[in-house]
């Protein structure tokens, strides 16, 4: 039985999670973000109702960049708080959570009781985010979901000096024109993204263990390179893409209890 619902309206994907009274992750759904947020959220709610039963009177907590457009929400909470809540509930300990999303990345230091101690977000550009890979993947004609494997398989690696998504693209074009192979370019691209992320981690100071969430974790090269660059083993929660929505649902649960 669903007791509370969390909705995470991100810049690239929208997610919904339902939890039971114990806070167990029982239902979820994800699809690319629709600019008509209200319609999409309504569709999500109809879906959860159809599959799990009536939701009337149950708390709906919205998070993500589009949270303020979710008029059905009982409460709106930022991604930082929600991610920390979700990950802490699943893993049961604090540490450093790195969430790499489509257009924004964040590093959250979670205290021993699950509280947010410190956080940072990517700068004003998309350099340290999934969009960086997405944009350049198109140029290289490699499928997004294959990028990580291809990069890992390459022994060679070229240095991409530009962290700007747009400039990196022109750097790649010139490399291809000079006959550089796709695989080492891909590996270099992953490295550039990871270095950016690691700089963010350093700016707040890594408190082990290191945890990873967000859509980009599906890419094995990112995980491996973060481990390489930080010297820390990376821990993944069960539903890495849903941590924001899950945390939101957990916050809703508190409303039920109160």
């Amino acid at each position: 039985m669903i007791a509370s619902i969390g909705i995470d309206v991100g810049s690239t994907t929208a997610k919904i999670v339902g939890v039971d009274l114990e806070g167990k992750f029982v239902w979820s759904y994800i699809e690319p973000a629709d600019p008509r947020v209200e319609d999409q959220v309504q569709k999500f709610l109809n879906l959860i109702e159809k599959e799990t039963g009536p939701i009337e009177g149950k708390p709906i907590v919205a998070t993500g960049y589009g949270r303020n457009l979710v008029h059905q929400a009982t409460k709106k909470v930022t991604e930082i708080t929600c991610h920390a809540r979700g990950v802490f509930k699943q893993l049961g300990h604090g540490g450093t959570l790195v969430d790499i999303g489509g257009q924004d990345s964040k590093v959250i230091i979670i205290g021993p009781n699950g509280e947010v101690v410190d956080f940072t977000m990517n700068d004003k550009c998309a350099a340290g985010t999934g969009r960086f890979l997405e944009n350049t993947a198109g140029r290289l004609r490699v499928k997004l979901q294959d990028m990580g494997e291809v990069a890992l398989a390459s022994r060679d690696e070229v240095t991409i000096s530009s962290t700007c998504t747009v400039f990196a693209e022109s750097e790649i074009i010139s490399m291809i024109a000079h006959g550089v192979k796709v695989e080492p370019i891909l590996k270099g691209l992953h490295r550039a993204l990871v270095k950016r992320i690691v700089a963010m981690i350093r700016s707040v100071g890594l408190v082990p263990p290191l945890m990873l969430s967000g859509g980009v974790v599906k890419n094995p090269a990112i995980r491996k390179m973060i481990e390489e660059e930080t010297g820390e083993k990376v821990i993944l929660p069960d539903h890495p893409q849903f941590m924001g929505a899950y945390g939101a649902a957990l916050i809703g649960l508190k409303l039920v209890r109160n």
């Binding site: 930022t78 991604e79 947010v116 101690v117 100071g205």
Partner: protein, 437 residues
């Protein structure tokens, strides 16, 4: 003729008109747009601030040919010029005014189109843009006869004022203040004092009169008094709830920056202190439901003052103290009217921007204790490199060594093109949630 025009427009008609305007606005009810549900009504003194500043710029409009005119950096030793009867204009203040009136971008673009890089301080770009285009929201700026730049705030002013000097073909007095790591060594103070002494004949030649030592002492005394009052007002933020926020301080700091050494400035701050004390007595807080109290580091974001005051006020956050507004009061004890040049040398070598990053960290920590604050917002100002350098470490050390929550907020004090609305909101909101749990 010019003199008569000045007397009539500034001292008679202008003064009367501005007084009438003040009178009217003092009686006006709180503006409809004001969020009285979350913030205290505007300070009564606001009408007077407006009158004082308008009068200052009005005088500027008619000053050319009547009084010698000097353009000065905000940390410049202005007392000598005041004592010689100069009309003094602060391009940085004018820049801030352009920022609050939302014309800074237009003026910056004038400078950028001319070839000045967007990486230069936005005050400099705004000012140079105004100089090149003649555009200003205050009607007209008086052409300077003399420039005074003091490097105690940054090195930008050195090059900026050289541009002005070349454009206007006028003399530039440069006061070089050696960087202070711990304490300023005696020879550094003597070095600054010597430059102050050497500046006197240059300024006298432009003013066509000689400096009266007695008058200088008087100006220095007034400068000290106003700074002391300002410091008192800052310290009133210790009260709970805090009677005024930094956003009020930002608005009412113009006189202490651009009208130091004048009797009306002393009267103005005495009146402001009274009003602030009255608020404390009546338990009025700048933020109606003050839940958390914060520190602000670095310059204000001039074009977002209202947005920030409301966004934070709505969430029960009162930003009570800032290193920036404090800078215009904290040196007051160093000023000694009996030893004007000596004490000016000391005062002008010690501003926070002329000291090491460790000093600022220590200052912030002290202020957190002094004002009983729950955290700090460090505005990383893209324009102001000397204020922003070291903030990443300062922030981390506030958190890790002292357990003070701190947020780095990237923006620019005068250039809204470096302000990302959604990102700023996301950071602030997450920070507030973090403070609440």
């Amino acid at each position: 003729m010019r003199y008569l025009k000045y007397i009539w427009n500034v001292k008679v008609a202008g003064a009367l008109f501005l007084k009438y305007q003040r009178f009217k606005s003092e009686r006006r009810r709180v503006p409809a747009r004001w969020r009285t549900d979350i913030l205290a009504p505007p300070l009564k003194i606001s009408a007077r601030t407006k009158e004082l500043i308008s009068k200052h710029y009005l005088e500027g409009r008619y000053a050319s040919g009547v009084k010698p005119v000097a353009w000065v950096t905000s940390g410049g030793p202005v007392e000598i010029l005041q004592a010689l009867g100069f009309y003094v204009l602060y391009p940085e203040n004018h820049g801030a005014l352009c920022g609050t009136r939302r014309v800074a971008v237009e003026l910056s673009e004038e400078a950028e189109n001319y070839g000045f890089s967007r990486d230069i301080c936005s005050y400099a770009r705004t000012d140079i843009g105004a100089m090149l285009s003649g555009k200003t929201p205050v009607g007209r700026l008086p052409k300077p006869d003399l420039l005074l730049a003091c490097t105690n705030i940054c090195q930008t002013v050195l090059f900026w004022y050289r541009v002005l000097a070349r454009h206007f073909k006028i003399p530039l007095i440069l006061i070089d203040t050696p960087f202070v790591y711990d304490d300023a060594p005696e020879h550094a103070i003597q070095y600054v004092k010597k430059q102050l002494e050497e500046s006197i004949p240059v300024a006298e030649r432009v003013a066509r009169k000689s400096l009266k030592y007695k008058k200088l002492k008087e100006v220095v005394r007034l400068s000290k008094e106003a700074s002391e009052l300002w410091l008192e007002i800052m310290y009133r933020g210790r009260a709970k709830p805090a009677p005024i926020s930094v956003f009020d301080q930002f608005i009412h700091m113009a006189p202490i920056v651009e009208m130091r050494g004048k009797p009306e400035t002393v009267d103005f701050y005495a009146l402001m202190l009274k009003e602030v004390d009255d608020r404390i007595k009546r338990g009025i807080g700048a933020v109606k439901r003050e839940k958390k109290r914060l520190l602000w580091d670095n310059l204000p974001i001039w074009y977002k003052l209202r947005f920030l005051a409301e966004f934070l006020g709505e969430r029960g956050i009162s930003v009570v103290a800032s290193t920036y507004t404090m800078a215009w009061g904290e040196l007051a004890p160093l000023i000694d009217p009996e030893k004007p040049l000596e004490s000016m040398a000391k005062t002008y070598i010690y501003p926070i921007l002329n000291r090491g990053t460790g000093y600022k960290l220590e200052k912030m920590r002290e202020m957190v204790d002094e004002f009983d604050l729950d955290g700090a917002i460090l505005h990383s100002d893209r324009s102001c490199k000397p204020y922003s350098i070291g903030q990443v470490d300062q922030r981390n050390r506030l958190i890790q060594e002292y357990g003070i929550p701190a947020l780095l907020l990237e923006a620019d004090h005068n250039d809204p093109r470096a302000f990302a609305d959604e990102q700023v909101k996301a950071r602030l909101e997450s920070f507030v949630e973090m403070l609440e749990t």
